[in-house]
């Protein structure tokens, strides 16, 4: 156990980061909105609480998020299991593809979804404007969180525990329920919390696939702020959203706080194997078919669309990206866009990994109330409306240094979203690391720092790799903060896609640019996987 003093020291950095870049801007904008002329705008609250429209929005926000979380878990857990325990051809590529949805702009995904499930569907189903379209889209976007969040944990569980249970006569289901599930519980809860927060604050999916009756608080806050210019009502709704998120995070913290089981973790290289029996093959194929239907189909539609031109199939849309027939100063080649994207993504990953690891260390060491409060606080940015945080930056960050239009703010904003991923994926692993390993190291004369480096770090490295990949994907796909601060000459890939979508006639090029975005993330995911493969052999 670390000393209180050093814990405070370690905790100060993430606390400062969260305080300066989240709490302070948030409080400032809420104060601006709710105390416009020195008095509290109580009318905005009563309006928010009494309007039946807003009550409907709040209720829909909650139940669709809960349902999305349950469905994402139901689809994701079998896939996570298959990836963790079996080897099969195309495993790495398929797993890399599951991360791709994370970065795709919702307008682009919306077009692909409507092509498959809209009025012109080849399957004859029209789900446009229904809750089903929203649910499927949330699963599409968030599946990677479950597959990787739980998977990273699952593939390190020593199968001998399960084998032991089986030897003692337990059936498959009983083994899962009494042995595997308790061990996975922290990782499942962590992933569920992240999926819930993303669905709860869903914005683009709702705008593109929802209709006027299906809308979330996130959309309503944005609409009140930007269409009606009602900052007071928008702020009251943001407070409502924040209360909802906090309550759920507290419940989650309580559920999670039950003692995590210490178990022996193993590198996955020894665990995954080829399916042997017919039943195993059937299970693997069936699970992967569901995955393919939900994740791969829309991606195939997008690639196909990028290859379709006015003059038949071909690469003209890609050629136009490099050498557009109609150039303007806002034109940016894919290579420049990739370079610009990396310029923000690399610092974002470093900030998120550094601050997230410090925070996770504090959370694990300071068991009990303070650790839990800190844990909850770090998750809040994910559950706060983006337009509120964005406006908060503008009103709060002009002093002592004016950061409002500074490029520093781009990786910072991305890291705010990514830090919960680092915390969520490293805390369960840290909690499970057997204390006696650490004690053994101490007995052998290692300093706490050395013990951490030699014992904890190698085991955390895998979870951190997963989190870093998510941080990368978050930064690469982010549009709002980036588009405001990025100059025309420093446009990232999503910014370039939106420019191409913003006018008639360049849809094919927008699709081609989206495929570039898909490729970057898939390559990064494959790269991490390759590095992981060699590293785990060394552990």
């Amino acid at each position: 156990m670390k000393s209180r003093r050093s814990l405070l020291l370690i905790g100060a950095i993430p606390a400062f980061f969260l305080g300066y870049f989240f709490v302070y801007p948030l409080l400032t904008i809420l104060y601006t909105g709710l105390v416009p002329d020195g008095g509290l705008a109580t009318s905005a609250f009563s309006e928010a609480l009494t309007s039946s429209t807003i009550r409907g929005v709040a209720w829909f926000t909650l139940w669709q998020a809960l349902l999305s979380t349950v469905v994402t878990l139901a689809v994701g857990l079998p896939v996570a299991y298959v990836f963790a325990r079996y080897r099969f051809p195309g495993r790495s590529i398929l797993r890399a593809l599951t991360l791709v949805p994370f970065v795709l702009p919702t307008i682009v995904v919306g077009v692909a979804f409507l092509a498959v499930l809209g009025p012109g569907s080849p399957f004859g189903v029209n789900l446009r404007g229904t809750i089903w379209a929203i649910l499927i889209a949330h699963v599409f976007y968030n599946l990677a969180i479950v597959i990787r969040g739980v998977g990273a944990f699952w593939e390190q569980i020593d199968p001998r525990i399960e084998e032991a249970a089986r030897t003692l006569g337990a059936g498959t289901w009983r083994v899962f329920r009494t042995v595997t599930l308790p061990v996975l519980r922290p990782a499942i809860l962590s992933s569920a919390a992240l999926v819930f927060l993303f669905s709860f604050t869903s914005f683009g999916v709702i705008l593109v696939l929802g209709d006027l009756r299906h809308t979330t608080l996130e959309v309503e806050i944005w609409r009140q702020a930007t269409a009606f210019l009602r900052l007071d009502l928008a702020s009251a709704l943001a407070v409502l959203q924040l209360i909802g998120v906090t309550v759920l995070l507290i419940l989650y913290g309580k559920a999670r706080n039950r003692q995590a089981s210490e178990l022996s973790l193993k590198p996955s290289a020894e665990i995954a194997r080829s399916p042997r029996t017919g039943a195993e093959w059937t299970m693997v194929v069936a699970t992967l078919s569901v995955l393919a239907a939900i994740v791969v189909t829309p991606l195939v539609v997008l690639v196909a669309r990028s290859l379709s031109t006015r003059r038949g199939w071909g690469l003209a849309n890609y050629a136009n990206l490099f050498d557009p027939p109609r150039a303007s100063a806002s034109f940016v080649t894919p290579l420049d866009a990739i370079a610009n994207t990396m310029r923000f993504a690399i610092p974002a990953v470093l900030i998120a990994a550094g601050i997230g690891l410090l925070a996770a260390t504090v959370i694990v060491s300071a068991r009990g109330r303070s650790g839990r409060v800190f844990d909850t606080a770090l998750m809040l940015p994910l559950g706060t409306s983006a337009v509120t945080i964005g406006f908060g930056f503008l009103v709060a960050l002009d002093q002592p240094i004016d950061l409002r239009a500074s490029v520093v703010l781009i990786p910072v904003a991305h890291a705010l979203v990514a830090i919960p991923f680092v915390v969520r994926s490293t805390v369960p692993v840290m909690e499970s690391i057997q204390n006696r390993l650490r004690e053994a190291a101490a007995v052998l004369g290692a300093s706490p720092a050395r013990a951490w480096r030699e014992v904890d770090l190698p085991l955390i490295a895998r979870a951190l790799g997963v989190a870093a990949l998510f941080a990368f994907a978050i930064s690469v796909g982010e549009f709002g903060a980036t588009s405001f601060i990025a100059r025309p000459t420093t446009a990232t890939i999503p910014v370039a896609i939106f420019r191409l979508l913003g006018r008639p006639g360049t849809f094919g090029e927008a699709m081609a640019m989206s495929v570039v975005l898909m490729a970057i993330v898939a390559i990064a995911a494959l790269g991490v996987e390759a590095v992981r493969g060699t590293r785990s052999a060394e552990i």
């Binding site: 210019l229 303007s328 406006f391 004016d402 500074s406 006639g505």
Partner: protein, 347 residues
Amino acid sequence: MMNRSALAALFAVLTVLGAACSSAEEAPDEIVLMTHGSFAVSEGVLEAFTSETGVAVTVLESADAGTMVNQAILTKDNPVADVLYGIDNTFLSRAVDEALFLAYEAANIDLVPSTLHAAGNFATPIDVGDVCVNLDPAGFDALGLEAPTRLTDFADPAYRGVFVVEDPSTSSPGLSFLLSTIARFGEDGDYPWQAYWTDLVANDVQIVAGWEQAYYGEFSGGSGEGERPAVVSYATSPVAEVYYGELEAAPTTMIEDGCFRQIEYAGILSGTTAETTAQQLVDFLLTRTFQEDIPLNMFVFPANSEAILPDVFIEYATVPADPVLMDPSVIEENRDRWLSEWAAIVR
């Protein structure tokens, strides 16, 4: 206890980082232009301003006009920019009421038709465009229907399910179209705008959140991927189809009934510390150098009547003869009520 020196060191690092990144922006030889996401300009145009004045132009792009106006209002006392460009007649009054702009009579304002001028010179008209219904003639042929010519056609059961519009509370062309139906059908009388919208809904109008979804996702004409042959877009969208598609003839058309005129203005933000340079920039936006660059980048018309239009505009663009031109103060007074009434009809 908190380690003070660590905190101080962190602040120092942040300060250096911040200073390194923002020093260029705060230098007096730079001016910041805040605009919306549709802003585009050819290479070398803004540089012409720099070579004239020695002042570099930095562009800050907000996602949409509503966000931009809000950002400007929130930062009124200590603005992030000096000049705001791209605020239109649907939001202008709000900005003027908030005392967002300094009055200024631009050097070339006499070259702009007086119908476009803003009251009190708090903003300078820079470009003008019309939001109009676009049609896919081939799509109507395939349905065995005559191409519609009037807004009322879309309420006719014969034209059921052909029309897609944008939500006025999330989209700028959507708001323009709502306003044009209000002006066209009036608030009272036998067939007010509310009755027209009730008929549109009964006739299966598709309402989507934004222009991109309406045009690319639902519209069947031009580069649209959808099934519906009529969409709320811009009068110049057929021109853009010809231009980007490198075509000989426009694949889409527009109808003149119910076009709404959007005027985009530039205003000098009242908290600017560089008022003179800001005035120079507004003047520059009205010069032919900038004005003649507007059409092919943003597909709207220059406000300066002396600006020469590109050939593709002369050949393919239609300027509606009698568009709806609504006073910004009327829009500001009624916008919230109209949006609420509209929402009650379509929900």
